[in-house]
Symmetry: C2
């Protein structure tokens, strides 16, 4: 298979076999994370390998009860790590203040994602599947406490990895020219924007189960992996209550409710500050 | 070559041949960017392809005069794009407020880097080289103006791509176990931290040209690509003036001076706000 085809076939996998990943493959995954591009080659990242059953379960709870994090044989907790650099620079009569410099933070986060995406692609090459879980950002304090993460280190992304039990059908994406612009930003007309999303999502579907498979595969996957109350049913009730009538409302009234998303700022900023990160003197 | 070897051999390339990239390869690069993982599959990104000589030159100036941006046949300006989503959601009686939600911003930036790193790896496969240029974040206002980027869109990263004229020797990286932790964060002793950096950087070298090749390849590469005043000479003078005596001081007194990095916050926050992004009600 060509590398193009490999990258294009990648889907987020949320249903994993109960099968360990060989140690030599894990070592290669760590190598490509460690050798990822890094701004100024500072390498301000750490990653925590979570494989013990007890810790997988706890991590799954920390990120909001996502069963694939518990079921994946391996999760990597990717952290921005300024601890090591601050210690080192203080030993040599200088200082590093990345925790107060938004620019250092943003570049470190970019480095972190380069490392993570290297892992995603190499994993795919070994017939492994993976899924990013960003909701650790909603629970930074608890994650730091549980994994004994020191000051100046921020867990920012979880990548859960394992052998796929099932691979979801294609995920709808924009046509290439929606995101690509030539020489300058080309503002799409309202009509073109409407079409771009219509092409991507298709029409809003009265068959809710079918719709969720396309629009919110997470709830469908989660239901397959636990016995308790059905997330699909909860979403259906919520859709009715909120009178969701189209794709946009589904996304921004139900899945990512706008007001709630904005309200999370306070929690996130407080957690960052608890870890010693403060860019605004707030 | 195995995919592992391909990813491991990747180095940032800053010296490009004057050779166009075939259109079908550019299309594949766009495809893998477009098909990158995206939180909630929202795809809140755009990228601007810069190929015209005039625009390459201007972009190079916007990012601080880096000659490789001018010399690369193609640069991609990766943007967080909430414009399209805001327009769409307003057409369908809902709203998206990502510009005020730090969480949406952080996930969008992660999406953007996944897309960019997909491009980096596929480019490597076609014997292309690439280099990330993050300094567009220092000049967001001017970049937005020049590329006619509307409100709710933030240029965050440039990736310059082309056929390598030369490939730098290996870049020093930490040993794998410095960044990887098992089950919980393992705080390194001061001594281990010292050793980790010693192993990575080697000793501070009196032979400044030799040192810069290892520690600040950018200035060496830049000097090769322009006639004007020598950056290497400037750095040497600065090293003397600041009495730089070790690797840490070189990094955080000269290359990323701590106070200056913190002072950049104000500019960055203002530029974000000018683009309509404001997470803190500042």
């Amino acid at each position: 298979m060509s590398l193009y085809d490999l990258i294009m076939r990648r889907r987020s996998i949320r249903n994993f076999k109960d099968q360990e990943i060989p140690e030599h493959i894990i070592e290669e995954l760590l190598d490509v994370a460690n050798n990822a591009p890094s701004g100024g080659n500072i390498q301000p990242i750490s990653l925590i390998l979570v494989q013990e059953a007890k810790r997988r379960k706890e991590l799954s709870e920390i990120v909001g009860g996502q069963p694939w994090v518990k079921n994946a044989p391996l999760s990597m907790v990717f952290c921005i790590d300024f601890y090591r650099i601050k210690k080192w620079s203080s030993m040599f009569d200088t200082d590093f203040k990345g925790e107060n410099a938004l620019s250092h933070f943003l570049i470190a986060y970019a480095d972190l994602m380069c490392a993570a995406q290297n892992v995603v692609i190499l994993a795919e090459n070994y017939e492994l599947g993976s899924v990013y879980v960003g909701t650790i950002q909603s629970n930074v304090d608890r994650a730091r406490q549980y994994f004994m993460i020191p000051q100046y280190v921020l867990p920012m992304m979880v990548l859960s990895i394992g052998y796929p039990k099932s691979v979801p059908r294609n995920i709808p994406k924009f046509k290439r020219n929606v995101i690509a612009h030539k020489e300058r930003y080309e503002v799409l007309s309202d009509d073109d924007i409407k079409k771009a999303f219509e092409n991507k999502y298709g029409s809003f579907d009265d068959n809710v189960e079918k719709y969720l498979k396309k629009a919110f595969i997470e709830v469908v996957e989660a239901d397959k992996q636990q016995d308790q109350k059905s997330w699909t049913e909860l979403v259906k009730e919520e859709m009715k209550k909120l009178e969701i009538r189209n794709n946009a409302q589904f996304l921004f009234k139900l899945r990512y409710p706008s007001e709630a998303m904005v309200k999370m700022n306070e929690n996130l900023v407080r957690a960052f500050r608890n870890a010693g990160f403060d860019f605004y003197g707030l």
